[in-house]
């Protein structure tokens, strides 16, 4: 709040074109002379600091999760690689920050198109790993197009909604075009099959459309449709997906099978108690009772070592981050920026919720990492690009 008060007195920021730009009529990237102001008080330090703290916590936890006392190196391989990814991702984020986020408005549909093509390419020529075809080999690099599609759907959706002349709230009929934008990649991802990412795209898009405004009747209809789809969709699920859901509903039934992961993760979290077992003293983690302890289950490794107090701090960090992102959405200079910031907030919100819900036994196990925290280059790259866009929207906000 203090920052925005302060911003109001900044010169040059109020551009008459701004009012127009909210309708999405006049846009050109690099047209805004914000960087020429030579001042950085428009920069959102809060988001930046939160990001650095979360990444720092993440790296420390990755270190403890992959720590091997016999190896003797103070920096484990995973830890070093994560730091390298942080460097690459920050550099990319910094470069993107230079451009006005209008560039994403311009590129929204082409990028969306590329995303769809990549998903089709996976369908045709993807490499299969553990029964799912999610990866595309480009030379020596493996790309996961569903991760890319997640961002392009938000961009396309934000552009479509901001382009729209029709005033919200929208009814069901008016939501058909955005529904197609969402459905196309979702169906392709479901075919891989990657239920987790597909659900995530629907949930994120839902938040954007909700914030854009829909009628109450539409909300009810969508709710009913969602429930009936879930029932019908059950028929089309893969056995392992059904098994995951069933195991989630009754984990005791199969304690050494799929339920084993949830059970062990709950033990790790619970055993942390109030103060935690201490750094590097998590036995659930170090003796490998935790599955994927440096990626999807990293929160359990953190909770075991730092206890409920540590968990409270981490949740407070994420919560502040999310509030800040929503705030940025409401302050954006145009509706595209608002929708985009909302989408970014939604990505972080759902990933954090699903990941922590999963490891604490509130939700079925789906392979979704904890953003900024889990080990993984793709996830880090995506998160940093999104945060860069968020900072961008804030930096070039309206007065």
């Amino acid at each position: 709040m203090k920052l925005s008060q302060h911003n109001r007195h900044r010169p040059n920021l109020i551009n008459p074109a701004n009012e127009e730009s909210f309708t999405g009529e006049t846009r050109s990237f690099l047209s805004e002379p914000n960087l020429e102001r030579n001042r950085l008080d428009g920069f959102d330090y809060l988001t930046c600091i939160l990001t650095v703290i979360l990444i720092g916590f993440g790296v420390i936890t990755i270190y403890s999760a992959t720590y091997n006392p016999e190896a003797g190196t103070w920096l484990t391989g995973f830890c070093r690689r994560q730091l390298i990814w942080v460097g690459i991702a920050s550099g990319l984020g910094a470069i993107l920050f230079i451009f006005h986020y209008n560039i994403f408005y311009q590129l929204a549909y082409p990028l969306y198109g590329i995303g769809i093509i990549l998903l089709i390419a996976v369908e045709v020529a993807g490499s299969t790993h553990m029964g799912a075809t999610r990866w595309l080999s480009l030379g020596s690099i493996n790309v996961q197009p569903s991760e890319f599609a997640k961002i392009t759907v938000i961009l396309a959706l934000a552009r479509y909604l901001s382009d729209r002349r029709l005033p919200p709230p929208y009814n069901l009929k008016e939501l058909i075009p955005p529904a197609i934008i969402i459905a196309l990649p979702t169906i392709l991802i479901l075919k891989q099959p990657d239920l987790g990412t597909a659900m995530l795209i629907i949930l994120i898009s839902g938040v954007i459309i909700f914030v854009a405004g829909i009628t109450r009747g539409t909300l009810v209809t969508i709710g009913i449709t969602a429930v009936s789809t879930a029932i019908i969709g059950w028929q089309f699920l893969h056995d392992y997906q059904r098994q995951r859901i069933l195991t989630f509903l009754d984990p005791e039934k199969d304690p050494l099978g799929s339920g084993y992961h949830i059970a062990q993760s709950k033990i790790a979290i619970g055993a942390g108690k109030l103060f935690g077992k201490g750094f590097l003293k998590g036995t659930q983690n170090s003796l490998h009772f935790l599955p994927e302890q440096h990626t999807d289950f990293i929160f359990a490794a953190y909770a075991e070592q730092w206890g409920f107090l540590g968990v409270l701090i981490l949740l407070a960090l994420y919560f502040t981050f999310l509030l800040r992102a929503i705030h940025i959405a409401t302050e954006a200079r145009d509706s595209f920026g608002s929708y985009l910031a909302t989408g970014i907030a939604a990505i972080f919100f759902w990933q954090v919720t699903i990941n922590i819900g999963m490891v604490s036994g509130l939700m079925p196990v789906v392979g979704i990492p904890l953003p900024l925290f889990s080990y993984g280059g793709t996830s880090m790259l995506t998160s940093m690009i999104l945060i860069s866009i968020l900072l961008n929207i804030h930096y070039r906000r309206k007065a």
């Binding site: 005033p167 938040v207 914030v211 003796l287 919560f319 999310l322 929503i326 604490s360 509130l362």
Partner: protein
């Protein structure tokens, strides 16, 4: 333009108001996640903390060795040996060389083909690949040597050792030693077995069973820290295992082995007792079984073979077989008659080949009759009519009371489970069990060792020990009592004789008369056991033959033994002791369907006695 303005305004308004709802939803969800974590970490923290501890600390048992069992001279009858099991650790073998490896193993080890090995290997899940997989238990020394020789070609193959119960004398004394079996689910529920764990071995029969508490060691405890895959990271012994206490038997294994061999493939029993103290020197029951087969989980075909054998090799005939004792009972009838002064040594009865009581004709085995018979001749030539005459004078209850003092109809309390009473009938017994009064005719049968009367070979041997030591009852026992505590062996649940070294209420001259008569059975030319007299003049043996009818035979249909079907042939008995002047051994031999005691059982008894006397004689010199 107004339209655009309206829309614009409306869009922003929508965003701001809807963002508030989103913030509310986020707050609620973050709060519920916090609540969930509070529940896990604070409310259930202690519970999960314990689970986390149990997760990584595993208690492993260190198996205690069972106490060894030795014979009276310290020769080992039950020992612990090492069983060698062939195992592979799947995670140390790659998929590429499992086929080659399986081929090598299959070549070295019997009953194992490479396809089975590969199948077992590929069935291992990721979580069990570090655990040793047993391919074959109990490798033979030959297989072991072959595998050891090719050890370097076999990475990931290990030989695991496991303590095994080993019985060096196998079937020679399996009825005494018994065997072990795995504890079952029902027993684990019982309080008596509260200190036992699953797949513990417990004694199932014999000494192994009766002295389970003494022989059993105390298992040790080792705690290991394991990782999620169960691999042991570090281990520390919390409590070392203590071996079970050893146990010394009174049995002379050389005699036992000799007697077992002497029995050959005949069905029956031999019991040898030291008449000076009741120590059992040998206890044989044939056919026998190999108790080593039970040292690991017995194979079902072995069990079927042993359990389904019509001759019941698992039965210990020495203590569980109740047979009519035949003429071996006659010295007891004579003893009671003399004690009650119904006769004296010179009382004569006339034997004309039979005695008629009421309308029944009781025959003597010698259809031509023995003529005038006195006590010594009645025993020497085993005249039935003499005892029919005694039967008309002595009451059955008096015989029963006297018989009980000699151990008949009672459990001796020998340290083996499953001992039977035999039957020493009395008038009250008949009334209760047959619902009829006692007739003199019943007494007649009892007096020649037939009718209701039955006895186990152990009881007959114990009875002849009394004749051997001239009047003292020593309780037959199998275990040297020195160094044993009461808790080692709980008292048998059922009543048994609880006195020992008690003098029988009998006049000495009567006892000597009977002993003299028993001497004549073997050493008088007309004695029924004369053919089996000792070959050496050094010692003399006394004894009594017995031929117990299995089915009643008519005079007309009487056939030679060889012509009668096996299962209708008479049981052959011979009970004896030696040396006559200073007895060191009393023996009862019973051959099921062996025909005449004098021709079948007596030679075996003679061999056993001679062997033992020679052995003790040479060891003393």
């Amino acid at each position: 333009m107004t339209n655009v303005n309206n829309s614009k305004k409306s869009k922003r308004e929508q965003i701001v108001s809807n963002a508030r709802i989103i913030i509310f939803i986020i707050t609620v969800i973050v709060a519920s996640i916090t609540l969930r974590l509070w529940y896990l970490q604070i409310v259930k923290g202690e519970y999960y903390s314990r689970k986390s501890h149990d997760n990584r600390i595993r208690n492993r048992r260190i198996r205690a060795l069972r106490g060894i069992i030795t014979d009276r001279n310290g020769k080992i009858l039950a020992d612990n040996s090492l069983g060698f099991n062939l195992q592979i650790i799947p995670e140390n073998i790659t998929r590429d060389n499992i086929d080659e490896l399986a081929g090598i193993i299959a070549n070295q080890v019997k009953d194992l083909d490479s396809a089975t090995i590969v199948e077992l290997y590929s069935k291992c899940s990721a979580y069990t690949r570090h655990r040793p997989l047993t391919l074959k238990k109990n490798l033979s020394t030959d297989e072991l040597a072959r595998l050891e020789a090719r050890k370097y070609e076999l990475p990931g193959v290990i030989i695991e050792t496991e303590p095994l119960r080993d019985y060096p004398y196998d079937e020679v004394c399996s009825h005494i030693i018994g065997y072990l079996g795995f504890i079952n689910e029902r027993e684990l529920q019982l309080e008596a077995y509260s200190s036992y764990a699953r797949d513990d071995l417990v004694g199932r029969t014999g000494i192994e069973s009766r002295y389970q508490n003494r022989l059993r060691g105390q298992d040790g405890l080792r705690q290991v820290v394991v990782n999620a895959r169960g691999r042991e990271l570090e281990a520390f012994t919390v409590k070392p295992a203590t071996s079970g206490n050893s146990l010394q038997l009174t049995v002379d294994i050389d005699l036992q082995e000799f007697a077992f061999t002497a029995m050959g493939d005949q069905v029956g029993s031999i019991v040898a007792i030291d008449p000076n103290n009741g120590e059992v020197l040998a206890l044989i029951s044939t056919p026998s079984f190999s108790n080593n087969l039970f040292s690991t989980r017995i194979r079902s075909e072995d069990w079927k073979r042993i359990n389904g054998d019509p001759l019941h090799p698992l039965q210990n005939r020495s203590i569980q077989g109740c047979y009519p004792p035949g003429s071996t009972i006659k010295p007891l009838i004579a003893a009671v008659s003399l004690t009650d002064q119904l006769i004296d040594v010179n009382t004569e009865f006339f034997c004309g080949g039979s005695l008629t009581l009421g309308r029944t004709n009781f025959r003597c085995w010698n259809r031509y009759g023995h003529g005038k018979v006195k006590l010594s001749r009645s025993i020497r030539e085993s005249c039935d009519v003499y005892y029919y005459n005694l039967a008309t004078r002595v009451s059955i209850d008096r015989i029963a009371a006297f018989g009980n003092k000699f151990g008949l109809g009672l459990k001796s309390g020998i340290e083996l489970p499953g001992e039977r009473y035999g039957l020493m009938p009395s008038s009250s017994w008949k009334l209760k069990n047959v619902h009829d009064q006692w007739y003199t005719g019943d007494t007649l049968s009892v007096c020649i060792g037939q009718g209701y009367l039955t006895a186990t070979p152990l009881q007959i041997a114990a009875m002849y020990s009394i004749f051997a030591n001239a009047g003292t009852y020593f309780r037959p026992h199998l275990v040297k009592t020195n160094g044993l505590s009461r808790s080692d062996s709980p008292d048998p649940a059922e009543p048994s004789i609880n006195y020992n070294g008690v003098k029988i209420d009998m006049r000495d001259k009567d006892m000597q008369a009977i002993r003299k008569a028993l001497w004549m059975v073997v050493n008088n030319r007309r004695g029924t056991g004369y053919k089996s007299r000792l070959t050496t003049k050094k010692w003399q043996m006394a004894g009594k033959t017995g031929t117990a009818q299995v089915v009643k035979q008519d005079l007309k249909t009487l056939k030679k033994v060889s012509e009668t079907p096996w299962r209708f042939r008479d049981h052959a008995w011979f009970a004896a002791f030696a040396p006559f002047t200073d007895p060191k051994i009393a023996v009862a031999v019973m051959v099921e369907h062996g025909g005449h005691g004098g021709s079948t059982a007596a030679p075996i008894a003679r061999q056993v006695i001679e062997f033992y006397l020679n052995k003790t004689d040479s060891s003393q010199q």
